[in-house]
Amino acid sequence: MDYMTLIQLLDSSVRLATPLLLACLAGLFSERAGIFDIGLEGKMLAAAFFSAALASVTGSVWLGLLAGIGASLMLSALHGVASITFRGNQLISGVAINFLAAGMTVLIAQDWFKQGGRTPSLTGDARFEGITLPGADAMANVPIIGPLYSELISGHSILVYMALAAVPLTWWLLYRTRFGLRLRAVGENPAAVDTAGVSVIGLRYAAVAICGILCGIAGAYLSTALQAGFVKDMSAGRGFIALAALIFAKWRPWYALWATLLFGLFGALETRPDVIESVIGMKVQGQLLGALPYLMTVIILAGFVGKAIPPRAGGEPYVKER
């Protein structure tokens, strides 16, 4: 494998890791506040569709992004009402959201665009294009760091950079602010938050809302940046891989970045069987790579690589007690 192939592989890893990272951080906010969310998948899918649909109709990808975030927030609100206000089962609510999104997107797509459940292909301003960072073209011919900068670091869409910036921002918010302290506390022991005179319900809704926004961006990225338009079930299990990454990352922001980049690399390798063959000298089934994130999560959960301790109050609706 030559240097350029490596750069291309890593570049593709970053692209594929971006939606995982956004969804993983979304899950992190929600689960750190004690609300399990297996509806990441459904929220991404709904956001992917509404982003593409609005971008296609208005021609503005930014309006598309807003629509995607809005759709995802609606589903988040549904999850919040079911699991926070009515203290329902968080897993069931999440599953319902996944089914709802899977069916609803195709149905509406067919009704609006009559293209077999797709949106029209997006072009021009209806899509997030790669941004060429300053000096990228000039540096392209410098050996070693030239391609690194112009190929790997430059040339991604704005959403990729937003996702990367979200990592330190999340860390800062969680560990350096009052909001973060309360958010982490409410996922560990809501009674402590309640007796301290802070609203458990308010905090949990805030967390679920942030989760919705991040899922919305993740979904928009799928249909308007990674690809050019919505197709049926295009989230393709990324919401679940993001959850796996969240466990892999032990619910921490920086670990989430490394976990999703690793899973992104698996995704990139899946599309380049020739690279694997040249490196290890044998053919590897693409499906095996696709299953790796799950396998690794099982290994983590089994406690082989340190212990992943979920937030203690996760999945439990808060009921005041004596």
Binding site: R178, F179, G180, G197, K320, R322
Partner: protein, 534 residues
């Protein structure tokens, strides 16, 4: 003092949970700079009252005055703003946060943590010096002992500038040494002008630390007295209360062989605190042994370990054969197989599954019975129902409908279902806890008759009840438990409530005993190696 406004005044507080009246028209005045004890048995309504004061529950009726001004405490936020701090029995701490983070949670000074933490660190050092509340600010709560966790809770309240501190059963999780330390701290707080409300069911704590004491019983405040003008015996009597004497017709017992022999039985709870500290007890065939005591002195743990759902150490013999105290053969199933039947204290949580039908509940614990099986795979539901209908008939369960869910029966009839299930199996030993709690008079009589009838068949019965009347009326021999130990045994016709009351307060030399020192001495003896800080 006389013309000073009380720090807290409650007027006519009432609170009901469904049909249960947890607090009935409670009025109380607590003067500033005093320690006021509230004593009562578990379930007397102490915690409910304090939860109302802390804004956790809204009272159905009544008014709260703080420092002479009417306060409208709608939530914890309002209580904190009124200067009330609460240390709950089960600490409300975030385990994987540091001490400092726990203290500022909810009382941060701004959006960023750094300045809040720095300020809290300075305040903490001051408070530690002022009151002797030593903690490690940067330790994780999960890594510090319960004594320090409790100090963190107190600091949380003081950090929020609380003038009134409520402590709910603060020594429940502490070793005697830690408890002594806590009381020294409370003394310091009082001398600094703080008002303290101490909720407990332990007489020793009341006698040692409080200035005034209120006694609660079944949701009512039965008395408020100056601690210096009362005695443990009087308080014990007020807590347990007197009722019209129950009459149970029974012949003198004719005890036979020893059925249950308990030797040096010890039990530790999940926090490592010893709940049973070496129990020795024998129950003979044809005899009812009653365990008296203020609730929370180890009676529940005794029933649990005998019933097989709590591990213990020591020796346990049934008809001379050992019973396992831990491991695979220490569970309800194994106990029942050996002829130990158990009517648990809390029938709704441990005796029945409330949403299941009466016939299903009747089969529980005995569902492997040959008569309940149709074949190797299937249960014979029709047989179980027929059996249940018969039992309901004999035990006068109303309505006698096996298909009704357990929750739809009244308390007395629920108890009869449990009793029928356990008694009709012809056990050698019946463990029975609070047989008539929440049961109407008619059913009480019936249940008592059944227990006596079982004794007359030559069965051994161990009865645990917080109702002294019941113990006196039913028992052939009475053992009094205090602080995880049997303080003494008495014959019911050779004792009275007064003597039992003293034993329940931990005083063994009942002829000439009243002092608290003596209780303390007893405890120091018993406490022995439990004084280490975790």
């Amino acid at each position: 003092m006389a013309n000073q406004a009380p720090a807290i005044e409650l007027k006519g507080i009432s609170k009901a949970f469904g049909p249960v009246q947890a607090n009935k028209d409670i009025s109380i005045r607590v003067m500033p700079g005093t320690i006021h004890g509230i004593i009562g048995e578990n379930g007397a309504g102490k915690s409910t009252l304090m939860s109302i004061l802390y804004g956790f529950y809204k009272a159905d009726a009544g008014e709260i005055f703080i420092g002479g001004k009417k306060a409208n405490i709608t939530d914890s936020q309002a209580a904190i703003a009124s200067g009330i701090g609460m240390v709950f029995q089960h600490f409300k701490l975030v385990e994987n946060f540091t001490v400092l983070e726990n203290i500022i949670l909810g009382a941060e000074d701004g959006g960023l943590l750094k300045p809040s933490l720095a300020k809290a660190r300075r305040t903490l050092i001051e408070l530690a010096n002022d009151y002797g509340l030593n903690v490690e600010p940067d330790a994780l709560v999960q890594d510090i002992g319960v004594g320090m966790q409790q100090r963190v809770e107190i600091l949380k309240a003081l950090y929020r500038q609380a003038d009134i501190l409520i402590l709910d059963e603060p020594t429940g999780v502490l070793t005697p040494a830690e408890a002594d330390q806590l009381f020294r701290i409370l003394g310091r707080l009082r001398s600094e002008g703080k008002t303290i409300i101490l909720i407990t069911h332990k007489l020793r704590e009341i006698m040692e630390t409080t200035d005034t004491v209120s006694v609660m019983r079944r949701g009512e405040m039965t008395a408020t007295v100056k601690t210096s003008e009362t005695s443990p015996a009087e308080l014990a009597e007020l807590m347990v209360g007197r009722k019209v004497l129950l009459r149970v017709d029974k012949k003198p017992a004719t005890p036979g062989d020893v059925v249950l022999d308990v030797k040096n039985l010890k039990v530790k709870d999940e926090k490592g605190v010893e709940r049973l500290r070496g129990i020795d007890l024998r129950v003979r065939a044809g005899e009812i042994v009653g365990i008296a005591g203020v609730a929370g002195n180890g009676q529940s743990e005794l029933l649990e370990v005998l019933g097989g759902y709590q591990d213990g150490t020591g020796e346990l013999l049934l008809n001379g054969q050992p019973l396992d105290l831990s491991g695979r053969h220490s569970d309800g199933q194994s106990r029942r197989a050996r002829g130990v039947a158990h009517v648990p204290e809390d029938r709704q949580r441990e005796g029945l599954i409330m949403n299941f039908h009466a016939w299903e509940n009747t089969a529980f614990g005995y569902h492997h019975d040959a008569s309940y099986q149709k074949n190797a795979m299937l249960m014979d539901n029709a047989a179980i129902k027929a059996d249940t209908a018969e039992k309901m008939e004999r035990f006068d369960v109303r309505p006698p409908d096996p298909n009704l869910a357990a929750k739809n029966f009244s308390g007395g009839n629920q108890q009869k279902i449990v009793l029928a299930r356990e008694i009709e199996r012809n056990p050698d030993l019946l463990l029975i806890g609070q047989p008539t709690r929440g049961v109407d008079i008619g059913a009480i009589e019936f249940i008592h008759q059944q227990i006596v009838a079982l004794r007359d068949q030559g069965k051994a019965i161990l009865l645990v009840s917080v109702e002294l009347e019941e113990i006196l009326a039913l028992s052939d021999r009475i053992a009094v438990m205090f602080d995880g130990q049997v303080m003494g045994e008495r014959m019911p016709d050779q004792t009275d409530e007064k003597e039992l009351g003293l034993l329940m307060a931990g005083i063994t030399d009942t002829a000439n005993a009243h002092s608290v020192d003596e209780i303390e001495e007893n405890l120091a003896h018993a406490g022995g190696d439990a004084g280490k800080e975790v």
